[in-house]
Amino acid sequence: MKERTQKIIRLTLIYIALSTIAFVAIFPYMWMVLTSFKTRIDAFAVPPVWFFKPVVDHYLEAFVNKGFLQNFVNSLIISLSTTVFSLIIGVPSAYAFARYKLYGDHHIFFYILTTRMAPPITIALPLYLLMARAGFLNTHFAIIAAHTIFNLALVVWLMRGFFKMIPKEIEEAALIDGCSTLRTFFEISLPLASGGLAATAIFCIIMSWNEFLFAMILGGDQAATLTVAIPGLVTTRGTYWGQIAAAGTIITIPILIFFLVVQKHLVRGLTFGAIEG
């Protein structure tokens, strides 16, 4: 009896704790979503209103009149492309790090890590000039290139861990059987690390989708992402909180969807990359 009461108390405490934490975590976001549907008076009302007549003005204003829909599409193009490129370039390198010790590869590995450590400002101006000279300013390509740099470190680091988790025996068996290195890589190693690939992909997409500095500097009117469009709502004429809320709501949804779908893999991804590092 006593044990059962203990168990109930324990469970209750856990639920209370988790609910409180969940509330703190989600409240700001929920409030933003609510605000996106409120008129300006309701949004600023004191005491705050929970029940109100919803309007979609802000969404229309932001996405139709101000063309945020175009920004949304740009963000999508850039994030997806970045992820694809980062994976294509980084995964083979990660595999090489995992499977074979090259003389001096510690240095290379560390150098890759430092690219992530550098404050983005270091690279901002020179990259701008580089892209300008090459004629790539205001194109999706420029931003994709910039994002790929920062993502490469992540890809190499994470995927190296995943590849190391695969027992060497499986690969060696294949090699003995006469498979070439390349075939082994594509037909054995890669499929076994697919969970890791998914996880890495999610991280890449998130980083690129939410990135601000380079999207702003290298973009223009052709390649403006959603993240860049939002601060434009804070003007010297006034801050359009309703539209900010609308844009903020929309910008978070694709990420949330991606995440919810791949949640299981993501958790695994973080571990294995981390432990080996």
Binding site: R40, Y128, D221, G232, L233, T235, T236, G238
Partner: protein
């Protein structure tokens, strides 16, 4: 005989036609485009224009199709928030990447751009008969505005684009209320002017109306560490007789007048809402909208927000007047200017564009949606005259138009001033200490 008569008829006919065309060209509602320019002249040319993402820019974009049709060129507008417009513009100019053909930039960059050779004087375009709009009427520009925003070392570099000015906002209903006036007389011994005309009155009224239990405060200060802070404080500075640089361009920021102005500013803190150190112009407007504040030194273009009954609880209860005076009247002029980069790919087309954008017709349209026009004629427009804060208070303030230094080093000086004043407000330093520090910094910046 017949042939000669025919020829004569034709010539007379042609002359009449030309005269009519000329007259029509003169007096017809022109697209503010010179007769020499037709839709073929600039066909195929694309003008790239970078500007701040604000309603006046939006309005300008709406009016663009007429201009594009009349001249044949296409205009692409890139809009960014304040900070980032300047970043992108600077990168383009410094990196010589020739992306933008025409700019709209805060006017304090005038000195820097001119000295570094980034922009061109527009005199030659103004005098070019091919480009000159017949109706341009240069005398119609408000002189103070034009000088502040575009004149440097005797040369004109552009036209004012996005202008605004600061003055005094006050709650007419509260200040005029006889009960309040009576109680004030009892406590302070005199009747205040409506609105207060000097700083002593201003502070007394502020103190009188500060009633935290009623959620009411005398003033609101734009106290965040932000551009808004220096913009507001400079009104006090000028009013107290101080300035940033003397005639020779040497910094005098820690002059006794300035110290007095800063001490006064800090002394207003108890009469402002608790959140005032996080306020920029936006929050001051909101404070008024919610009826929390009685007076403030604020921008004129923000007044639309407070006069809109859909957004504001005090619509119709406000009025506007000049900044209180200690030694001289003051009004901080804030503006953006249209500039033409030296490396612009189409400088002439660029000139045509900015001429159009500041033409009488366009300025009138923009005035109606709340942009501060640069022309006297716009103020005479009956629609514009109806906007209470717009016409008298704005015009009066514009005649004063104090402008901040437009030297290249100003951005750094402005940034340090923000820090200095913020420290004074936070009580970390006294006004004298912080301005002494600022003076040392200014000497370093300008000395090197």
């Amino acid at each position: 005989m017949k042939i000669v008569r025919k020829k004569k008829t034709i010539s007379i006919g042609l002359m009449v036609l030309t005269m009519i065309a000329f007259l029509v060209g003169c007096f017809a509602p022109a697209e503010a485009v010179p007769p020499a320019v037709t839709e073929k002249t600039y066909e195929g040319i694309t003008l790239r224009f970078v500007a701040e993402a604000v309603p006046p820019t939006e309005a300008l974009i709406k009016l663009l199709p007429e201009f594009e049709k009349a001249s044949g060129m296409k205009v692409i507008v890139e809009q960014y928030p304040f900070d980032h417009v300047v970043e992108k513009t600077m990168m383009d100019l410094a990196g010589k990447t020739r992306i933008y053909d025409v700019l709209s930039t805060p006017y304090q960059y005038l000195g820097q751009f001119a000295e570094m050779g980034y922009i061109v004087p527009i005199e030659k375009f103004m005098n070019d008969p091919k480009l000159r709009d017949l109706e341009i009427d240069y005398a119609d520009y408000i002189e103070g505005m034009l000088k502040a925003s575009a004149e440097w070392k005797g040369e004109l570099y552009g036209f004012p684009s996005n202008s605004c000015i600061m003055f005094l906002w006050y709650r007419r209903d509260l200040l005029e209320d006889p009960v309040e006036r009576g109680t004030f007389k009892e406590n302070y011994g005199y009747y205040y002017s409506i609105p207060p005309t000097n700083w002593i009155e201003y502070k007394d009224v502020a103190e009188f109306f500060t009633r935290p239990e009623q959620e009411l405060y005398g003033v609101a200060l734009q106290g965040k560490r932000h551009d808004a802070l220096t913009c507001e404080w400079m009104n006090y500075m000028w009013s107290f007789g101080g300035r940033v640089l003397d005639e020779e361009g040497k910094p005098v920021i820690n002059s006794p007048e300035n110290v007095e102005a800063l001490e006064y500013f800090v002394s207003l803190l108890p009469f402002a809402p608790p959140g005032t150190t996080t306020y920029t112009w936006d929050e001051v407007t909101t404070a008024f909208q919610k009826g929390r504040v009685v007076m403030a030194i604020q921008w004129n273009d923000q007044a639309f927000g407070v006069e809109d009954p859909a957004k504001s609880e005090v619509a119709g209860k406000m009025n506007y007047g000049p900044v209180p005076v200690k030694k001289q009247p003051a009004a901080h002029f804030g503006a953006w200017t249209y500039f033409i980069p030296k490396l612009s790919k189409h400088p002439e087309a660029a000139y045509l564009f900015i001429q159009w954008a500041t033409s009488k017709k366009v300025q009138m349209e923009l005035a109606r949606i709340g942009m501060v026009p640069a022309r006297h004629s716009s103020y005479l427009d009956p629609e514009v005259r109806k906007i209470p804060f717009f016409y008298p208070a704005t015009l009066a303030a514009l005649e004063i138009s104090n402008y901040r230094p437009r030297i290249p080093e100003w951005e750094e000086m402005n940034s340090k001033m923000m820090l200095a004043i913020s420290q004074a407000l936070a009580g970390e330093k006294t006004s004298e200490e912080t301005l002494d520090w600022l003076q040392k910094e200014y000497l370093k910046i300008l000395g090197k």
